[in-house]
């Protein structure tokens, strides 16, 4: 299976251990998290009320949403705590030449849009 192209983001030093970093990739807000030396990348957007996650607390592999308290596993984006029930997107991370890259995500199937609110 061919892998999507790599999107180079930031130097590894930008995300120290236990830290977070937000960057933009292909129109997505990506949240990079360094947990015990491993970098994980998820969409910086809560699946419950779309709030940014970067202001939330990273505890172990869990990122909390500052707005309503939802929690997600940064390893796979899975929802761990209410009110979120749906996962957030997670991206494959590749480390090359001291830089963090993610594999370009496949486009998501578009939902039909019927008006400004959905």
């Amino acid at each position: 299976m061919t892998r999507g192209r790599l999107i180079s983001l930031v130097p590894a030093a930008a995300v120290p251990e236990g830290g977070k970093h937000v960057c933009s990739a292909g129109g997505l807000d990506v949240l990079l998290c360094n947990v015990e030396g491993t970098i994980y990348a998820v969409e910086n957007r809560c699946s419950h009320a779309s709030s940014r996650l970067d202001a939330g607390k990273l505890r172990g592999h869990t990122i909390g949403c500052p707005l309503h308290g939802a929690r997600f596993d940064v390893r796979d984006g899975s929802a761990l705590a209410a009110p979120a029930t749906k996962p957030i997107r997670s991206f494959e991370v590749v480390m090359e030449g001291g830089k963090i890259s993610i594999v370009e995500p496949a486009p998501q199937p578009a939902r039909p849009k019927f008006g400004p609110l959905g």
Partner: protein, 439 residues
């Protein structure tokens, strides 16, 4: 107290066909709204006796009754009602029940037929619910007269591209019941819009909790923060009329809850692109996008196949949001309308049916899309879009709270005036014994 910036209105009250002047706010007090009305079976029974069986209700989209013989079956609590188009072009509503032994005569949600024949003993009715055939009539010593055993009819009328019915034999005319609604909404020409989405979701809340949720924008900061970059949720004009109400929500602008409104988010860009507005040539900030879209549509609407001549400038961008009492919510934009019909559950006041229908204005010359297939599921089984999913996820918890001994009742702000107005109107139906239709 925080002082927010104001959102400019561009509609000219002198020329706008949809009235835009602010109505004086009704003085409805500050009392707590009791939670029992969301949970009590006695209250639901009273609603059935004094509200649902006494008011005009939306039955179906008139596009589903285009041709003679077209019919729609709509359910409300335990009642099932048949809506038809007859050969003379009239619309009819009658109970879905055979006069013989009580079987239903119409099956499925909709279809086309010349007659309704009961599957039990083959009593047959025409499109007006009149009995036309009884097998072996000589075996009824008391007689089986077709003219006396027709199905009970309901008042039925059309407005706005919808078919309405009323179970009250003494109902006022639909026009009288709707009051100001046609004057306000006819400029949108709903009857020229096409139904493009038709879904029913079973929600775990009382039907009024859903009506309430859409009657205030106070919840946007908490429930839909992603919308703050593309609509105004605070400087919203609220108008309450005799029984219906509305608010006018500016769209295409950064919320005044966002201190720096200059940013242009993806959501705002997406909103502009829905109207064919090219943001790459736009030089202003997030506060000016709304006016720029209005000018763009005024200038280019015709070339894009749309006639906006009956709409004021604000209607080109904003959500003119109407609640037609008791259970119809409309999010109205120049090219689309999202309609919610909130129906009570048959037996459980803690459940309801949320009917979502999206309508789209088609550009001139465009072929009407095929009618979407109706889907029904429970909340959580499928998505109905991010914003409505967010609303729905609150409501199950709200309903649990309504049942809590720890809940004092609804503590309502001025931003939620429509909620209070809705409950006051409901009380008029449920508790004012002097009104004429109460038997």
């Amino acid at each position: 107290m925080t002082v927010y910036r104001r959102i400019e209105r561009f509609a000219d009250p002198q020329t706008s066909k949809t009235p835009v002047q602010k109505e004086p706010d009704p003085q409805l007090g500050n009392d707590i709204i009791p939670a029992a009305r969301y949970t009590s079976s006695e209250f639901a029974d009273r609603e059935w006796d004094r509200l649902w069986t006494k008011t005009w209700l939306m039955g179906c989209w008139e596009g589903d009754l285009k041709n003679p013989g077209d019919y729609v079956v709509t359910d409300l609590k335990g009642e099932s009602i048949v809506l038809t188009r007859d050969e003379e072009g009239g619309v009819n509503a009658f109970y879905n029940v055979c006069s013989h032994r009580g079987n239903q005569v119409a099956y499925g949600a909709c279809g086309n037929t010349q007659t309704f024949r009961c599957s039990y003993h083959l009593w047959e009715y025409n499109l007006k619910g009149e009995l036309i055939t009884v097998p072996d009539p000589e075996t009824f010593p008391q007689g089986a007269p077709c003219d006396k055993l027709s199905i009970k009819r309901l008042a039925c009328a059309t407005w706005g591209g919808f078919v309405w019915f009323n179970m009250n034999p003494d109902a006022e005319p639909l026009e009288e019941y709707l009051g100001m609604i046609p004057e306000h909404l006819d400029p949108y020409h709903f009857d020229q819009m096409a139904l493009v989405n038709d879904v029913t979701v079973e929600w775990d809340c009382n039907w009024k909790a859903s009506v309430d949720a859409f009657n205030e924008t106070y919840h946007v900061i908490g429930t839909h923060p992603q919308l703050l970059s593309m609509l105004e949720d605070y400087d919203v004009q609220i108008d309450c009329y005799e029984r219906h109400n509305r608010y006018l929500i500016p769209f295409g602008v950064v919320s005044t809850h966002v201190p720096d409104g200059s940013g242009i988010s993806q959501a705002l860009k997406g909103y502009a692109s829905m109207y064919g507005f090219d943001m790459s040539n736009y030089k202003g900030d997030g506060l000016g996008v709304r006016r720029a879209i209005q000018k763009h549509l005024r200038k280019n609407g015709k070339a894009m196949g749309f006639d906006y001549s009956d709409l004021n400038d604000d209607q080109l961008t904003d959500d003119y949001h109407y609640m037609i009492f008791p259970n119809i919510t409309m999010n109205i934009h120049c090219n689309s309308m999202m309609l919610f019909r909130q129906r009570p559950h048959e037996t459980d006041p803690n459940k309801m049916y949320f009917d979502l229908q999206n309508y789209a204005m088609l550009p001139k010359g465009a072929e009407a899309p095929e009618r979407p297939v109706h889907r029904q599921f429970k909340h959580g089984e499928d998505s109905i879009g991010e914003v409505l999913d967010q609303d729905a996820s609150n409501l199950a918890n709200v309903q649990r709270g309504m049942n809590s001994r720890g809940f004092r009742g609804l503590w309502i702000s001025d931003q939620e005036l429509r909620v209070r107005h809705f409950h006051k109107t409901l009380d008029d139906y449920l508790f004012r014994d002097s009104i004429k239709w109460v038997k």
